[in-house]
């Protein structure tokens, strides 16, 4: 009677269950029976029950109640029970379970058992799930076993030692002497274990590496024996003698020869011999060759050998077997940085692999192709990569798109090519590009002023064909809004002229606005673009007005807010509209390395200047004095500007103009809007002209926080309206302007205006503030600027 019959009956029962529910029922009954039997004292069938439980565990049902039974079985004197017990321990226990501590003693006893199979069970379990404490306790035992005469035990002890070293790095020292002596073994299993142990020790500590360098001649000797020896039936796999051991030794030689001339010299002959003698028609031979090539390329080998190695890789690339091609590309990836030219020679084959049916091969080819792009081959490579992008599997799209962008960024031969490439990627894989693509592209377009006409034509045409790719639509809307006049002019040198009427353009934008495919962000873009067009076109301003007013009652708060503000712009501030909506200034190109998290906020601010407003809920659009052309303010100093409350349109101009300052610390979003009482702290008059006085007082709130209160008063005979303040501070200081208490200053100092400014100066730099004052008095707009260098009370 074989001991597993009850197990087999249960398996049969489970298999005959026709539905999942039936199977669950069978398993629950069995588990209940097993639990009951566990509680009983010793009976003959204990091992069967645990075996059944392990089967149930493999199917995915809970089996934790078997843990204590495992512990009991391991302690039993009978081999069959020990066997199942240890198997159970490996499957059910791990370091986090308390029960695992209980088996430490059993393992210790079993390690000194007279029967080698019991010893091997203990070693196996220790190697699989031994915790750090167990390893520390039992390491001396393992070291003793490494010196035993039984090769079966020795090889298992060697691998167990590897596990111990991985868990507790310090114990590596303990095993160094035994590892060294194991190299003179004849048994391949022991040799294999020894090489793995030495590899692990060398990888962990450089001093050990130095000591093991002396073993290079021994290793070379062993390899030679394997390569030259004839057919040995024991370890032969398809004609190659113990390929597993050969591969391991080659790997160890690689680690020992790295950066060391002497060791590398000792290996040169051997590597040449292996490279030429190994039969490459079978997979095994290729495994050894592959390892040899990697070793040659990693150590300081002579140039002839390197050439040989790269040629072997080239041959691998042309092999029909896909596995070999995959392996070849993996290894080329490892050397592309060091031996770039050698890999470039195989560029053609690699690019062909992009078209392979196999997804794994495609993945490797994509990574390699991206690594091989250089200034000289950018055009041809990009063509191939774009073809790949249109047909590539979805999981590789994002990687391909971002790789293409990086390559285009680095090596673009001309701006037009760059813009074309990005547009191509957006049309084919628009859904998979990263979020920063939109602002990056917009920045690129604004910088290329000579191509505005070309770009807007292209984008318009792309918009007409397909409005499902959101990034593309966003960029297109933005460009049409900005450069609509160029579009309507109709003529363009770079591309064929197309007659576009104002109605066409507005139709296109309206389709985007109304389409269910457009996200709220895209709609925001489209609405702003429509508004901008009101100054660029002549005939259909009423149409724009009606579109805008419709969205005044849109459910989406963002759009509603924008529409309401644009409406206000039409109604009350029509005279300002042209100034507010004029062309954007050129955005300074941030260098690549400075893409920080804040930059990705840019599109948020770009597309949702209204978001700024959301925090202020129903702030009425601030009136005049907000002349938008801030270039002179920013041009004069390199400080980021914090605007006061502002109109949506001007907000977008201001916010995107902000990154003009180098390093672009982006703005804090405007804070709350509760009017705060005047601070009684010491005040100083900072500005006094034409009857308008501005005083400043500040109060230190915390280590780096400071509240500044600006108070304005009017001692002239006439009322002042539209009084606004804007402030700019040094780069590292963060500034938040609260809403002013009012914007009118009645004559003769009837009432004062206060505005609170919260500063945060974490770097404790010298605090300076530049304040711009603007107001309307007797119908004329007055603007002035004052710099405050010293703050009272600081």
């Amino acid at each position: 009677m074989s001991p597993s019959v009850p197990l087999q009956e249960m398996i049969r029962a489970i298999r005959s269950a026709r539905t999942q529910c039936e199977e669950r029922g069978v398993i629950q009954r069995e588990c209940a029976a097993i639990r009951a039997q566990f509680r009983q004292t010793d009976n003959g069938g204990r091992s069967h029950n645990l075996a059944k439980l392990l089967y149930v565990h493999m199917l995915g049902y809970p089996a934790h109640f078997g843990q204590m039974e495992c512990v009991r079985m391991i302690a039993s004197p009978r081999y069959s029970e020990k066997r199942v017990g240890y198997l159970g321990a490996m499957m059910l226990l791990d370091e986090k379970q308390d029960a695992s501590l209980l088996i430490t003693n059993s393992i210790k006893n079993d390690l000194s058992h007279s029967n080698q199979y019991v010893q091997s069970l203990a070693l196996c379990t220790l190697a699989c799930m031994g915790s750090a404490e167990m390893c520390r306790d039992l390491a001396p035992e393992i070291d003793r076993l490494l010196r035993s005469s039984n090769s079966y035990i020795k090889k298992k002890a060697a691998l167990c030692a590897v596990h111990i070293v991985r868990k507790v790095h310090d114990l590596g020292e303990l095993f160094v002497p035994s590892a060294r002596s194991l190299l003179s073994e004849k048994n391949h299993g022991v040799l294999h274990g020894a090489v793995v142990l030495i590899t692990e020790l060398c990888e962990r500590s450089p001093e050990t590496l130095e000591r093991f360098r002396k073993t290079v001649p021994d290793l070379v000797q062993i390899m030679k024996g394997l390569v030259i020896s004839g057919y040995s039936p024991d370890h032969d796999v398809a004609g190659v003698s113990d390929p597993f051991l050969q591969v391991r030794i080659l790997r160890l030689l690689r680690i020992l020869g790295r950066n060391n001339e002497a060791a590398s010299d000792a290996m040169n002959d051997l590597l040449a011999q292996v490279a030429t003698n190994t039969d490459s028609t079978k997979t095994v031979g290729n495994a050894v060759l592959y390892e040899t090539v990697l070793t040659v390329l990693d150590i300081k080998s002579e140039s002839g050998l390197r050439v040989l190695a790269v040629n072997i890789l080239g041959r691998f690339l042309l092999n029909n077997d896909r596995n070999i091609r995959y392996i070849a590309m993996t290894s080329l990836q490892k050397i592309v940085l060091t031996d770039h030219n050698a890999v470039q020679r195989h560029r053609g084959t690699i690019v062909d692999c992009l078209k392979d049916q196999d997804a794994s091969v495609k993945r490797r080819a994509l990574e390699l192709s991206l690594a091989l792009v250089s200034a000289s081959n950018i055009r041809s490579m990009m063509k191939e990569l774009l073809i790949f992008l249109s047909s590539c599997p979805p999981e590789l799209r994002a990687q391909a798109a971002s790789g293409i962008f990086n390559a285009a960024e680095r090596y673009a031969p001309s701006k037009r090519w760059h813009i074309d490439t990005i547009l191509h990627v957006l049309t084919t894989a628009g859904g998979d590009v990263r979020d920063e693509t939109v602002p990056n592209l917009i920045q690129l377009i604004t910088n290329t002023s000579e191509l505005h006409c070309y770009t807007v034509h292209k984008l318009y045409r792309a918009l007409l064909t397909d409005i499902s790719q959101q990034p593309l639509v966003q960029v297109a809307c933005w460009c049409i809004g900005e450069y609509g006049d160029l579009l309507l002019k109709g003529e363009c040198q770079e591309t064929e002229a197309v007659q576009v009427t104002e109605d066409d353009v507005l139709d296109a934008l309206e389709i985007v606005l109304q389409s269910h495919m457009s996200t709220p962000t895209t709609r925001g873009f489209a609405l702003t673009a429509t508004m901008k067009l009101s100054t660029r076109i002549t005939d259909n301003v009423d149409r724009i007005r009606s579109i805008v007013s419709i969205y005044g009652s849109c459910i989406d708060v963002e759009l509603q807010q924008r529409a309401v503000e644009y409406n206000a712009l039409f109604k009350k501030y029509d005279h300002m509209r042209a100034a507010v909506l004029e062309r954007m200034p050129v955005i300074q190109k941030n260098s690549l390395g400075q893409t920080n998290g804040e930059l990705s906020e840019e599109p948020m601010k770009e597309s949702q200047p209204g978001k700024v407003k959301q925090e202020e809920t129903a702030l009425p659009p601030q009136p005049a004095g907000q002349v938008v052309d801030l270039l002179d303010l920013l041009g004069g100093s390199q400080e980021p500007l914090q605007p006061g409350s502002s109109v949506a349109g001007s907000a977008s101009t201001q916010l995107t103009a902000a990154p003009t300052s180098a390093g672009g610390d982006l703005l804090d979003l405007l804070g709350g809007f509760e009017p705060t009482p005047l601070a009684p702290a010491p005040t100083v008059t900072v500005y006094e002209k034409n009857g308008v006085t501005l005083t400043l007082s500040c109060e230190q709130q915390s280590e780096s926080g400071l509240t500044v209160t600006l108070t304005a008063s009017n001692s002239t005979d006439s009322d002042i309206s539209g009084f606004t303040l804007q402030a700019a501070v040094p780069k590292s200081v963060q500034l938040q302007m609260r809403a002013p208490s009012t914007d009118c200053l009645p004559a003769h100092g009837g009432a004062k205006l206060t505005q609170l400014v919260v500063l945060n100066n974490p770097n404790k730099v010298n605090l300076k503030m530049r304040i711009r004052v603007s107001y309307t008095c007797q119908g004329s707009v007055v603007q002035d600027m004052v710099q405050v260098d010293s703050f009272p009370g600081l």
Binding site: M58, S80, V84, L87, E95, C128
Partner: protein
């Protein structure tokens, strides 16, 4: 290091699952399901290496698999193992199983899952390759089975003797 060895059939039912790193039971089942999902999508004539699993995959790990009739043998390894070497290891494993159970088929694996575990324990230990010589493995497994059988028959004899007396 080998992280896991999985054998499942064409419908995704696990026939053997051995993990060399600890995961809790739910994660183990999820890994089996995810691996099956990835591997079953592959064509017949593509390469045997797969990347891109999320749970047990990650940047350093690949799945190396071989499809024999109704069973998939999948090894999940990291970059310290030679990929072609593991392919050969799978071959050696299957040949060993074939020797141990005459002409092994899926039913053998189903009904003798504990035996398969013991054979595997002679080949891979703690995530590392232990022995690749087929004859050596079979010798050891046979010796251990004999030991187990002799124990059982000894205990049966004792029970019988008890009953007679």
């Amino acid at each position: 290091m080998i992280k896991a060895i999985l054998i499942f059939n064409n419908h995704g039912k696990p026939r053997l699952s051995k993990f060399y790193e600890h995961y809790n039971e739910d994660t183990e089942q999820q890994i089996i399901r995810e691996t099956f999902h990835l591997v079953s999508k592959r064509d017949e004539n593509v390469c045997n290496f797969l990347e891109g699993g999320l749970l047990i995959g990650g940047s350093d790990y690949k799945l190396i698999y071989r499809h024999y009739a109704t069973l998939y043998f999948v090894f999940c390894v990291d970059s310290s193992e030679s990929e072609l070497g593991i392919l050969d290891l799978i071959q050696v494993f299957v040949e060993t199983l074939d020797k141990c159970f005459e002409n092994v088929c899926e039913l053998d694996l189903i009904f003798h899952v504990d035996k398969v575990h013991h054979i595997l324990a002679e080949m891979v230990m703690g995530g590392m390759v232990l022995e690749t010589n087929m004859n050596e493995i079979i010798t050891q497994v046979d010796a251990q089975n004999k030991m187990e059988k002799s124990e059982v028959s000894a205990s049966l004899k004792i029970c019988y003797l008890d009953q007679i007396q």
